[in-house]
């Protein structure tokens, strides 16, 4: 709560500090001074900033985040409309990322400096350094264009058309998942390597435990802790919207909404979105902490 209160002050201040006039942006270039003044007054932008803040805060506490300057819709409705698409893409991407990272990271840690390890390094370097924009365009040109296997973009709710939902999810999830997976792979590799070198693992090996058992109980479990942390960070990042991928694949997520509101200086939407991201971050941190205690009995004490 204290954190959220602090965040809301900072959010409000930052958003209003950025240069740019939402009224001029909304009116285009041809308008009369009277029109400008009327709209400014109607949007509440003529009031002192402190008063604007407390009006907004008062609403936010009761779940009313105000009305968008740009669309005239409530901020909560705009966010709610885009939340399912964002959640879908974030979780699908994390799934793809873990499917890449865990096997690749583990194998390369078990065989350091082998061909597989080199391959993993190259793959993860590729994932980190290749622009997601480029990767997205290439996928569209190949799979939607040349091969014609998948639609070029868009989003359909799962309940409406499960096959269409999956077809449209594959490419964006692969692009964001590859980027996140590349980051996570490195963490998996280093934490598995570290765990293998730990004293208790050598003890277990010395006791003559089967390699599989050593790996599952002594290596993997210890390597899980950093994995959970980095996965949490990646998930928080994905949930706050992946602007480029959303735009290229016409994916109606929060990233696009946030970008549109920045461009239009749509303060209420921007404040609402940033506040939501802060809440998401706090929740994920909490979940990560809870998982820690579940994985590592030492933390419980």
């Amino acid at each position: 709560m204290v954190v959220l209160a602090g965040v809301s002050v900072i959010v409000f201040a930052l958003v209003h500090l950025v240069p740019g006039d939402p009224v001029r942006l909304a009116l285009g270039t041809r308008f009369s001074q009277e029109t400008y003044d009327t709209l400014r007054e109607r949007s509440g932008l003529d009031l002192p900033l402190v008063q604007q803040f407390f009006t907004w805060l008062g609403g936010a506490v009761t779940g009313d985040l105000g009305v968008s300057f740009r669309s005239g819709d409530t901020v909560t409705a705009l966010i709610a409309e885009r939340l399912p698409a964002t959640l879908t893409l974030a979780f699908a991407s994390i799934l793809v990322a873990l499917l890449i990272a865990i096997p690749l990271g583990t194998i390369s840690a078990l065989r350091p400096r082998s061909i597989i390890d080199r391959f993993a390094t190259v793959v993860s370097q590729f994932g980190i350094s290749v622009p997601d924009f480029w990767m997205a365009i290439v996928l569209i040109l190949v799979f939607a264009g040349t091969l014609g296997w998948l639609p070029s973009g868009g989003y359909v709710p799962l309940g409406e058309d499960p096959l269409g939902w999956l077809q449209r999810l594959v490419m964006p999830a692969v692009v964001t998942g590859t980027v996140s997976g590349a980051v996570i792979t490195r963490f998996v590799r280093s934490s598995v390597l570290e765990a293998i070198g730990a004293d208790h693992v050598r003890t277990a090996q010395a006791k003559g435990l089967p390699a599989r058992q050593v790996f599952t109980w002594h290596v993997l479990r210890n390597a899980l802790l950093p994995l959970v942390t980095v996965t949490g960070v990646q998930l928080a990042y994905l949930l706050s919207g992946v602007v480029v991928v959303e735009i290229v694949f016409s994916w109606p997520g929060l990233g696009q909404l946030a970008l549109q509101s920045v461009q239009a200086r749509d303060y209420p939407v921007l404040q609402g979105a940033i506040l939501l991201f802060a809440v998401v971050f706090l929740i994920i941190n909490l979940v990560v902490d809870l998982l820690y205690t579940a994985i590592d009995p030492r933390i419980r004490r």
Binding site: E81, I140, I247
Partner: protein
């Protein structure tokens, strides 16, 4: 500038129809409205909202064009004003009273009858609430009904371009009386147009045919506007049959798609113009010779090529070639020698540094600014390109914090819209600070002259002086570029970029 309507990055695509036929290859799913016979159009952005009197976004008007009507409409061919909800009109001797006779048998989408009360309500809503287009009524004293089928507009001074003011786009739409009270106009619509609004969300806006449309029901069952921002993705969607129409094709592909007969690609010069403007408060840009030197230093052909890959017509005045009001006047051929001479004459020591403000809202201007910079470099002007986001750009323009900027005016039809606000002393959009009594007088005359030929003569004179003085440094008129599936018929590409699917038929 985000003039009357912001620019959609017009570009066009082609259809390559890989593998599959018309529209079946890939499951297009999505919005699903209308019926079997629904046209899917890829547009580059989501409408910001659907209240025609409030929005200024081009993305909104792409949709609203098909939902609402105005009293008069631009002819798709030559953009002269033609009857629509008004069937005829007459002007009083003194030019101060216009009587519009309204069309019979027009109904709104909810079935209610259209009459004069709706026109009075709609216009007074714009005027009384000071909505975005209220400036279009600045000479209007009153809007009154005279019986159910006549509307009388009374003016404070003769206004020859009144029809353009009330009909050039759907921002002047006729809503049913009390629409703002009965409906949430930001998300709902009740017009008299060929299509009615079915739904609008973050992925697409769906319209269905209005069977009782006064000009006959549309040929298709509906239209789905799907938002595809990335041009390469829009082109792919057109090529594999997911969509049948788009105005969002990568500019660099225009040339190669032209010869591709699996795609119908069309271009036409638009009524938009792009220009450079210098700040008179920042010497030496107040010096006419310096501005003329810069104008002589530029090669407009190269700049247009850089911005639009050739899909633009270089023009040294504002009004495009196809318009009745076009003036064929191009005194500035690229001449670096003369440019250097003029600079010397003005007592400017080179290198002269000039900031050039561009915005990434219109990415093609960022590319073209680099060409401008290299051309000006040859005559000793060091151009510092300042790339800003549009909000910051507008702030700095408003505060006069720039040496020069590069932008466009979009969607103009009448010469007054091209020249008056921008070049009249203290005009609302005369940010540069231009002032020439002779131009002021001509613009004043042009605003009230009712004879077209006499008007053209007046604006030709004004434009010549404006060009010679380099109040604006005019660069080019970009083309409208659109593409659709081969075999799609009944659609007409228009210079004002209005997109009307009333008569469209699918292949």
């Amino acid at each position: 500038m985000r003039a009357t309507r912001p620019l959609a990055l017009a570009a066009v695509g082609t259809l390559a129809l890989s593998a599959c036929g018309g529209g079946e290859s890939v499951d297009t799913g999505g919005g699903g409205g209308g019926g079997e016979d629904t046209l899917v159009a890829a547009v580059s952005a989501q409408p910001d909202q659907l209240d025609p009197h409030v929005t200024t976004a081009y993305a909104s008007f792409q949709v609203l064009e098909n939902v609402y009507d105005t009293l008069v409409v631009p002819d798709p061919e030559d953009l002269t004003m033609q009857p629509s909800l008004a069937t005829e009109w007459e002007t009083s001797e003194d030019g101060l009273e216009w009587r519009f006779t309204l069309r019979d048998g027009v109904t709104f989408h909810d079935g209610s009858e259209f009459d004069s009360a709706d026109v009075v309500y709609s216009y007074n809503r714009i005027i009384d609430e000071e909505l975005s287009n209220s400036f279009r009524f600045q000479n209007v004293e009153s809007v009154e009904a005279d019986g159910a089928d006549t509307v009388v507009i009374t003016l404070s001074q003769p206004t020859p371009n009144l029809l353009e003011r009330i009909g050039s786009f759907k921002g002047m739409a006729i809503l049913p009386e009390n629409a703002a009270e009965d409906l949430d106009l930001t998300t709902e619509a009740n017009g008299t147009g060929p299509f009615q609004l079915e739904s609008s969300d973050a992925s697409s806006t769906v319209l269905t045919a209005y069977e009782d449309y006064w000009d006959g029901a549309p040929s298709v069952d509906g239209v789905e506007f799907r938002y595809i921002t990335e041009p390469a993705a829009a082109l792919t969607a057109l090529q594999n049959g997911e969509v049948q129409w788009t105005d969002n094709v990568p500019p660099q592909r225009i040339e190669s798609l032209g010869g591709d007969d699996s795609v119908q690609l069309e271009t036409t010069p638009s009524v938009d113009y792009w220009y450079m403007s210098m700040n008179y408060d920042r010497p030496p840009f107040d010096n006419r010779d310096v501005r003329r030197a810069i104008s002589f230093a530029l090669d407009r052909e190269e700049i247009a090529e850089a911005a639009w890959f050739g899909a633009a017509e270089p023009n040294q005045t504002a009004i495009p070639e196809d318009s009745f009001f076009h003036l064929d006047y191009s005194p500035f051929e690229r001449d670096p020698e003369q440019a250097r001479q003029l600079l010397q004459q003005a007592g400017v020591t080179t290198p002269l540094t000039m900031g050039l403000m561009v915005t990434d809202e219109y990415p093609e201007t960022v590319t073209a600014a680099q060409v401008i910079a290299s051309q000006l470099d040859e005559v000793g002007i060091d151009v510092q390109i300042e790339q800003l986001d549009f909000a910051t750009w507008l702030d700095r323009q408003g505060a006069g914090e720039y040496d020069a900027f590069y932008l466009g005016w979009l969607g103009n039809l009448d010469p007054a819209a091209y020249y008056q606000e921008q070049h009249q002393t203290d005009g609302p959009n005369n940010y540069q600070g231009y002032s020439n009594p002779q131009v002021d007088e001509l613009l004043q005359q042009g605003a009230t002259e009712t004879d077209d030929d006499a008007r053209k003569e007046i604006y030709d004179q004004a434009a010549t002086i404006i060009v010679d003085d380099v109040s604006y440094l005019y660069l080019y008129n970009p083309d409208v570029v659109q593409a659709w599936a081969p075999g799609l018929s009944g659609y007409q590409i228009r210079a004002d970029k209005a997109i009307n699917f009333e008569n469209v038929e699918l292949p």
